[in-house]
């Protein structure tokens, strides 16, 4: 168990800057999830930690050691790849033993470690099969087993669930979370799926265009996004963003006036507001039917336990809000919507969240 420390890491491929001066501390034993859209640099960052890419500048430390100058095998990390990367011509047992044999581990110790890991992952009956004879989920477990036997200081996961079907993905998510609880090892998990990030992470590192947008616990990232990007990327359905036509002051707080004339009293102190166009952000669950903006239902998405209603405001902008699963509504039906001012976020022209 060791803490992982990234210090001013940059990575450039030719003229393209993939990571820009990025610093991050991941405490020992934490389950950190790098979350971001494709091309944000999250996988590159993981590969720099693993030693599969060299940083253009900056340092990587694991525990007391600086590891960015070491070869991948010497770093004390184990990686689970997106496509598993199991050696196709070796049996499961040989796959798990390969790394240990290369560092001269005695055969009886290899056997013991493999049996322990196989028992933990319930793959003992698969040990003599080859990867081609396994299902996707089984291969995934073998890939994790191959990482476990090395007893690394940190586990690195590169979108390992993206090849699994939906049911298996949610089951594996739970298993990984339990594995982390049991092993208490530092784990770094890369994904573009915010559900995976929310459900497994101790802390989420939200990345965009080679920079860290926000680091925080899942609920911090969800409830107090630092930027408009984070607010929009985390949460399903995505947060509603509405342009603010003008701002008024009431008891020192900003009142946002939307283009359709709706006024929303926020908790943001008016003194902190920058000049320029502001954007108001509000999540679906903070819009409720009530005395407020006039709207017309355009789309109804029934998810079972709840229903998402997409409604057009008078100025033509669309908002989505929550209703119970059995709500009776029709397309085109007029509704009135109340916005919870206390839960509203205001974003400046630069995309930063405005706070008190």
């Amino acid at each position: 168990m060791a803490n992982l420390s990234l210090r001013q890491v940059s990575k450039r491929f030719g003229h393209v800057e993939v990571l820009r001066d990025l610093s991050l501390e991941i405490p020992a034993g934490e389950f950190a999830v790098f979350l971001g859209p494709s091309g944000c640099g999250k996988s590159t960052l993981l590969r720099i930690v693993a030693g599969l890419e060299a940083p253009t500048s900056g340092e990587v430390h694991l525990g007391a050691e600086r590891i960015d100058t070491m070869s991948p095998g010497d770093r004390g990390v184990a990686m689970v790849f997106q496509h598993y990367a199991l050696y196709p011509h070796m049996t499961v047992r040989q796959n798990m033993a390969f790394g240990l044999q290369n560092i001269g581990t005695p055969p009886e110790e290899i056997t013991r470690k493999i049996s322990e890991a196989a028992a933990m992952l319930e793959i003992a009956h698969l040990l003599d099969r080859k990867p081609g004879q396994l299902s996707g989920g089984q291969r995934q477990r073998v890939a994790i087993g191959r990482a476990i036997v090395k007893q690394p200081k940190a586990f690195l996961f590169d979108e390992p669930l993206s090849n699994l079907d939906a049911a298996l993905r949610s089951r594996t998510r739970i298993e990984l979370a339990r594995l982390h609880q049991r092993m208490q090892t530092t784990m770094v998990f890369v994904t573009h799926d915010q559900v995976e990030a929310m459900t497994m992470a101790t802390r989420i590192v939200v990345m965009n265009q080679g920079r860290i947008e926000q680091v925080g616990t899942p609920m911090e990232v969800y409830q107090q996004p630092d930027t408009r990007f984070v607010a929009g990327f985390v949460g399903t359905p995505a947060m509603n963003f509405l342009p603010v036509a003008r701002v008024e002051e009431r008891a020192g707080r900003a009142v946002a006036c939307l283009p359709d004339g709706t006024e929303i009293a926020t908790t943001v102190p008016v003194g902190h507001l920058p000049s320029g166009d502001l954007t108001l952000g509000i999540r679906a669950e903070h819009i409720v039917p009530g005395d407020g903006a006039e709207a017309r239902v355009v789309v109804i998405e029934r998810l079972g336990e709840r229903t998402l209603i997409y409604a057009d405001l008078r100025d033509g902008s669309t908002v989505v809000y929550d209703e119970p699963g059995d709500v009776r509504l029709d397309i085109g039906q007029p509704v009135r919507l109340a916005f919870d001012g206390a839960a509203v976020h205001l974003f400046g022209p630069d995309g930063m969240t405005l706070r008190g």
Partner: protein, 303 residues
């Protein structure tokens, strides 16, 4: 059923499939015709001919059973030609596999230098055997050729492989490898590029050295291609002809005469078609046996 015509019965479905099969035959017919006319009929004709006394001048003098094959055994040149051909295959096939793999491993990257070298190594394959042997006869010139010059530097003077009973066949093997090393190299390159990069990354994280990676990741991943290259080269090199004819003419003292040259001379110089056909059947059997043996070996390795 209200409308029996609308419901497909078992019989009508069967008929429909039968009709479809007849139509499908049209699509394979061109290939079948080529196979029949250019391969199967000549093969059958060759086998038939090998049991006949057939002279190009004297014509057909009836069947002679196994006489042609018996004559081959008693021939003063044929057993030597078989030995030469087998030795040639034993020299060149491992060289094609080993050197082809080495070149592919060395040039399997995206550097401009490697792209140029890949083209250079493949380049000689497009030359005709006449050009290739012309070049190499100059190289092998005694006293003045490139080979003599290089060997002279290390004190070996008077090297003349073309007239040496020991070195004539190896010299032809060198020419052959130089000429068509491009094909095995390209096949190996294609196979190497099929290996996912993730496997090498996993191996790097598994602390595998370069040698361990080559032995445990690369070679097992291209095992089938190694077998394919070996079989292709066995079949190709058993058919050695042009290089031997043009460089040594089969000499000195028949020490580099291959089976195909023997067949050519028996058939088109001595005009004994039946005898030449029998030698062809021996070559065919040898190639078939060697290729099957190689496939059996590689299958056994896989299990």
């Amino acid at each position: 059923m209200a409308d029996p015509k609308g419901a497909p019965s078992r019989g009508s479905t069967g008929a429909a499939i039968g009709e479809k099969h007849a139509a499908n035959l049209l699509f394979v017919l061109p290939y079948l015709l080529v196979l029949l006319v250019l391969l199967l009929i000549p093969l059958g004709l060759g086998i038939w001919l090998s049991f006949q006394d057939y002279d190009m001048l004297g014509g057909w003098n009836g069947g002679v059973g196994l006489d042609n094959f018996r004559n081959l055994l008693d021939d003063s040149i044929f057993p030597g030609a078989v030995r030469n051909t087998v030795v040639f295959v034993l020299i060149t096939t491992p060289a094609f596999v080993g050197l082809g793999l080495f070149l592919a491993l060395a040039l399997n990257d995206s550097l401009r230098r490697s792209a140029v070298l890949r083209t250079v190594f493949f380049g000689s394959s497009v030359l005709s055997v006449t050009i290739v042997t012309l070049i190499w006869r100059l190289v092998y010139l005694p006293d003045r050729g490139l080979a003599a010059d290089i060997l002279g530097l290390v004190g070996l003077h008077g090297f003349d492989p073309v007239t040496s009973e020991t070195w004539a066949l190896p010299a032809i093997a060198v020419v052959t490898v130089w000429w068509i090393i491009g094909l095995p190299m390209t096949l190996f390159l294609a196979a190497l590029q099929q290996i996912p990069a993730e496997l090498y990354e996993a191996a790097a994280l598994d602390h595998a050295s370069r040698l361990t990676t080559l032995r445990n990741i690369t070679l097992p991943s291209i095992r089938r291609t190694i077998a394919v290259v070996a079989v292709i080269e066995i079949v190709l090199q058993f058919q050695l002809f042009g290089q031997a004819l043009l460089i040594t003419g089969g000499g000195p003292n028949n020490h580099s005469r291959p089976i195909v040259q023997f067949i050519y001379e028996a058939g088109f110089r001595d005009l004994q078609l039946g005898f030449a056909a029998a030698a062809s059947q021996v070559l065919f059997a040898l190639m078939l046996l060697a290729a099957l043996g190689q496939m059996w070996l590689s299958r056994r390795g896989e299990n």
